[in-house]
Symmetry: C2
Subunit: 300 residues, 2 copies
Amino acid sequence: MKGAQDFRAWMSDIQARVELALERLLPAADIVPTRLHEAIRYAVLGGGKRVRPLLAFAAGEAVRADAARVERVACAVECIHAYSLVHDDLPCMDDDVLRRGKPTVHVAFGEATALLAGDSLQALAFQLLSDTRLADRAEDQVEMVRLFAHACGSRGMAGGQAIDLDSVGKRINLEELEHMHVHKTGALIRAAVMLGAHCGPSNDVASKLECLDRYARAIGLAFQVVDDILDYEAPTASLGKTAGKDAAQDKPTYVSLMGIARAKEFARELRARAVDGLAPLAGRGTRLAELADFIVYREF
Amino acid sequence: MKGAQDFRAWMSDIQARVELALERLLPAADIVPTRLHEAIRYAVLGGGKRVRPLLAFAAGEAVRADAARVERVACAVECIHAYSLVHDDLPCMDDDVLRRGKPTVHVAFGEATALLAGDSLQALAFQLLSDTRLADRAEDQVEMVRLFAHACGSRGMAGGQAIDLDSVGKRINLEELEHMHVHKTGALIRAAVMLGAHCGPSNDVASKLECLDRYARAIGLAFQVVDDILDYEAPTASLGKTAGKDAAQDKPTYVSLMGIARAKEFARELRARAVDGLAPLAGRGTRLAELADFIVYREF
């Protein structure tokens, strides 16, 4: 019980820290072009569970990384996440009007501004990865940019969106569904963990990347399985977005392919796979394990 | 006359080299997601004057940069340019159906795929800037990423698009028009020059950045002034895109604000401003000067 309270406090601290950092790092709303900057701030601030930043900080703690560096990385990942939601909500994509309980960016600011806000957020993420020193060796920082750019691209997150598009209305099997999610949500979740880890001292990081990578892949998939479960079960109000849309759009999900009971079991299996691999972190993987529990047992 | 022939040959060489490099560096069309990769290749390959790559190579020659590095940088800049055109052509932006004499990407592949192709191209540009070593010192490569990310973002190119959006149907003055173009087209043209220069030996580069920066700013603006002149004067067929759209959409241009004669004079003044500053390059600025002439006196 104490552990759980401690974790909740840590989580709130990180969430508040990331919110403050984003407030500071996003262009102010009175800088020209003001409407674009308003839209960017609207898209990023004041909402979201900040799961990816939490993962970056938890991975950073596992390798004794400098917290100021991890904060930058966490904000960069969150900018990419926010941009992906803004573009994903556009009429030509999911055509969603509600996100985190608020009108989506294109509803509030118009489609053109939403498009540019997403585009700008992707660029901003790379600004955050290059504006200040984030690794002991500059070579490692170039590697961080490389890892991140691949996670965002056509064989990472954006590619996952494209696979998702192609799958609507089609019968796909579990393997194809996993392939989609490994890209669509998994790539950025993995980037959050790996970038957080890269902020650590270089001698400490290399030996731990493999187990962190395994953790990140399992938890990235678990995250999506739980998302599908929540979309199936939760009412719109508690979800803060339109629930039941997957079924309405005839999108394949873990629930539609496995059934609800097996999907829940699969999420627990993935949690175990993620956590069991943390032994090489020699006790510094506590936050990662707690986050795995949080992701799998969350109700929103 | 010999100089002009020599320049044309150099230009063709670089254009062919960049085309081949892009062919190789873009994901193959048979890699999943195939439709996205087809759209990306359609957007980038087989067209365009490759002005930004030419500028990168000319700046690279001015500092004796390694051509293989400049090639990467040129491709990265061209990916950003292509993405900006794809998004700019979307129905929620300029709603254009013709580009380089072909249907625009969203006409050929649908809006959702066009959106994702643009998003992926931005990420790909940063992959190209980080996949291989591009500067003698890794610190300088991080600086290249930084410079590039700022050129792409809300206070660079994407911001310029937003200012452009806000200006439609409004009366703006010359200063505001210049402010828009410094961002919308100037930022990426400047990035092409500066990144090309950063590929050179670090001791050679620092002393030349200031004059290259001055050149890049003048030529970036000249490029837009000439674009406005061509949109006003050229028939659609020779332009490869819909001509006369600026006036039809009541967009402010150099021609509408200055008149056609003064706009042409201004382009020549900017050319002189760009070229006069090249003296510190000690004779290695020939290609940059020739490119300035090409940009200002082009007819397409």
